[in-house]
């Protein structure tokens, strides 16, 4: 086990170094990419924020609370992107659909270790995280919140839940690419985009059944709205804490099962040319 943990850190270090090399090879292009990504991130949340400012809050939250929720979303999204954004790890259906899993299978490392480390981009992929930290800090100051170590632990807990939920959904639906590679190549991107678009909305006031649906089957409510309520309004009861854990756990389990099944299917049936909707050759 110690060897595996050591191996993980060595690989993270390796991919961090590669990311830095990539960043330094053409500074102008990279700067352009970072600025574009930053603007894209900010514009993604502008709609909800402007509505909140114009009407003095939306969905049961004040404008500053909305800012906090959006800050949390950016923080979690940025952290997830920094950890898994490179080389399409988070967009796993692209790797599967393009036949790139073969490259992973010839490496003498467990797949889980490769998937945990290859996407690490601490230099070129940290813009979302920085925006998230800034927005959260501003909103915390405006709300005059008192932050305790427990609050920070709770923040970390919800960040992990957010990342697990997004990654699990990407892998769960992305595993379809093992069966129909070309047709499902972009399925992970679509799921992640949908999460990004809907996950920034406060869900207060929705019919009960719809709210329940958006916290379980399509768990966008757990990406920012539920954590923001918990962190702002002290939702620290055991059941409230356990609920996102259970949902994230179920999604993670389903994703692991489906990915493993998909990989077995690939080993048993897949081939570039013969499969209908097969790989592009």
């Amino acid at each position: 086990m110690a060897d595996k943990i050591k191996g993980l850190f060595r690989l993270w270090k390796l991919y961090a170094r590669m990311d830095l090399h990539w960043l330094l090879q053409d500074k102008a292009t990279v700067l352009l990419v970072v600025i574009t990504e930053t603007l894209s991130n900010l514009s993604g949340m502008a709609g909800v924020l402007l509505l909140a400012v114009r009407f003095g809050g939306v969905g049961g939250l004040t404008a500053d609370e909305i800012l906090f929720m959006l800050g949390f979303f950016e923080l979690a999204d940025g952290l997830g992107w920094m950890l898994f954004g490179n080389y399409n790890v988070i967009h796993i259906s692209r790797r599967i659909g393009r036949g790139q899993v073969d490259h992973m299978l010839i490496q003498p490392r467990p797949l889980w270790m490769q998937l945990l480390t290859e996407g690490f981009m601490p230099f070129s992929g940290c813009h979302g995280l920085i925006i998230g930290i800034a927005l959260t800090a501003v909103s915390v100051a405006r709300l005059d919140m008192t932050l305790s170590p427990v609050w920070f632990l709770l923040l970390l807990y919800y960040l992990v839940i957010h990342i697990i939920l997004r990654l699990s959904q990407s892998f769960l639906y992305g595993s379809a690419a093992f069966y129909k590679p070309v047709a499902c190549e972009e399925i992970s991107s679509m799921i992640l985009d949908m999460n990004s678009q809907l996950g920034r909305f406060p869900l207060f006031g929705l019919p009960g059944w719809l709210g329940a649906l958006l916290h379980t089957v399509l768990p966008i409510g757990l990406l920012a709205y539920f954590p923001a309520l918990a962190l702002l309004k002290d939702l620290g009861k055991p059941t409230e804490l356990a609920f996102p854990f259970v949902v994230a756990g179920l999604f993670l389990t389903a994703a692991l099962i489906c990915f493993k099944k998909g990989l077995s299917h690939y080993a048993k049936y897949s081939c570039n040319r013969y499969k209908e909707m097969g790989h592009r050759c």
């Binding site: 191996g7 060595r10 690989l11 390796l14 590669m18 090399h21 990539w22 090879q25 073969d102 490259h103 299978l105 010839i106 490496q107 003498p108 490392r109 467990p110 690939y266 080993a267 048993k268 049936y269 897949s270 081939c271 570039n272 040319r273 013969y274 499969k275 209908e276 050759c281």
Partner: protein, 331 residues
């Protein structure tokens, strides 16, 4: 010329053992707008062979014969529906990690180089992922740099390399962990004559000096006879021949082709039979065991208007067709 080293395989360890392997793929073929028909394609049908330590074998066959599928089975990416695959006595699918530590794989149409990084970065990446010791890394890098002339490529971005350079860099990267078994799928694909020559000489050297077991696929008969001391011919998923080049010649004749570039209709060439004319080049077939090349050139010199001459081996499809023809006659 082909390598005709005769070896005592009994002394060697079995590196690859494929026994009764069948691999098929099911398809739904459209027969009308709404109707689909199930169709089963056999990539491999009851294929068996073994490779001993230090063997250099060519796995040859026409396009679609099942070569790449065999390589995917050997590398554990795919599992057979029937039969067993063993590499170093292990199931490559179940024991992927220990098998991959001792095996190097290179698919001709794919690159293991990191596209947006200098070639050096891919080597440093492999050092970490394969857990190669610093001293071994430096030694092997020095060897490979010299043997494959990588000096100038070291700091170039992988995306900037020509096809031949990329293949050389890929080959070196594949050999960095000093694999005992090397699987090469169409390594000469798209290479020019010089690059092809370098590649073949290098493969022969590591096979001779380090006893690396090599299995190489190609559908080019010229490359195969240059490279390997054993030829496995595969056709429509079945092993059609397993032996050395001399045996193959005894069975099919030493059939070669000659292309003449000449204006007008194809002239009659004594000692060779006319096959076809393509793009102004007249193709003839001759049996090298019956007529020597100097004799044939003497006949060509008597022909008017010949501008160019190209010699080569018969296409692998024809060799296989001839094999089947001989078997039918024997029956």
């Amino acid at each position: 010329m082909q390598n005709t080293v005769v070896t005592d395989t009994k002394k060697w360890d079995t590196v690859v053992n494929i026994e009764g392997v069948t691999k098929y793929f099911d398809q739904n073929r459209p027969v009308s707008l709404f109707k689909r028909e199930k169709h089963r394609i056999y990539a491999l049908k009851d294929v068996s062979f073994t490779l001993q330590k230090g063997e250099f074998a060519a796995y040859a066959g026409p396009n679609g014969a099942g070569k790449s599928t065999t390589f995917k089975l050997l590398s554990g990416m795919l599992c057979p529906q029937e039969g067993t695959v063993r590499i170093f006595g292990m199931d490559p699918h179940k024991s992927r990690i220990p098998v991959m530590r001792r095996t190097g794989i290179l698919f001709g149409n794919r690159s293991e180089l990191w596209w947006d990084h200098p070639v050096r970065a891919s080597f440093e990446w492999k050092k970490e992922v394969w857990d190669i010791k610093d001293t071994d890394y430096r030694r092997v890098c020095e060897e490979l740099t010299e043997l494959l002339s990588l000096g100038d490529l070291w700091n170039s971005y992988a995306r900037e390399l020509s096809l031949g350079q990329r293949m050389r860099a890929n080959l070196a990267l594949m050999l960095l962990h000093e694999p005992e078994l090397v699987l090469l799928d169409e390594p000469t694909l798209g290479l020019d004559v010089l690059a092809k020559r370098q590649m073949i000489e290098f493969l022969k050297k590591i096979n001779r000096d380090k006893q690396v077991t090599i299995l190489v696929t190609s559908h080019d008969m010229d490359d195969l006879t240059e490279m390997a001391n054993r030829i496995l011919l595969i056709n429509e998923g079945q092993l059609a021949f397993d032996g050395d080049y001399e045996q193959l010649i005894r069975m099919t004749g030493d059939n070669r082709v000659i292309k003449l570039t000449a204006k007008g209709d194809a002239p009659i060439l004594s000692g060779a039979s006319f096959v076809d004319t393509v793009d102004g080049k007249h193709l003839y077939r001759y049996d090298a065991s019956k007529i020597s090349v100097p004799e044939l050139f003497g006949n060509i010199s008597k022909l008017p208007m010949v501008e160019d001459v190209e010699l080569g081996h018969e296409a692998i499809e024809q060799v296989i067709a001839r094999l089947y023809e001989d078997w039918r006659k024997a029956e």
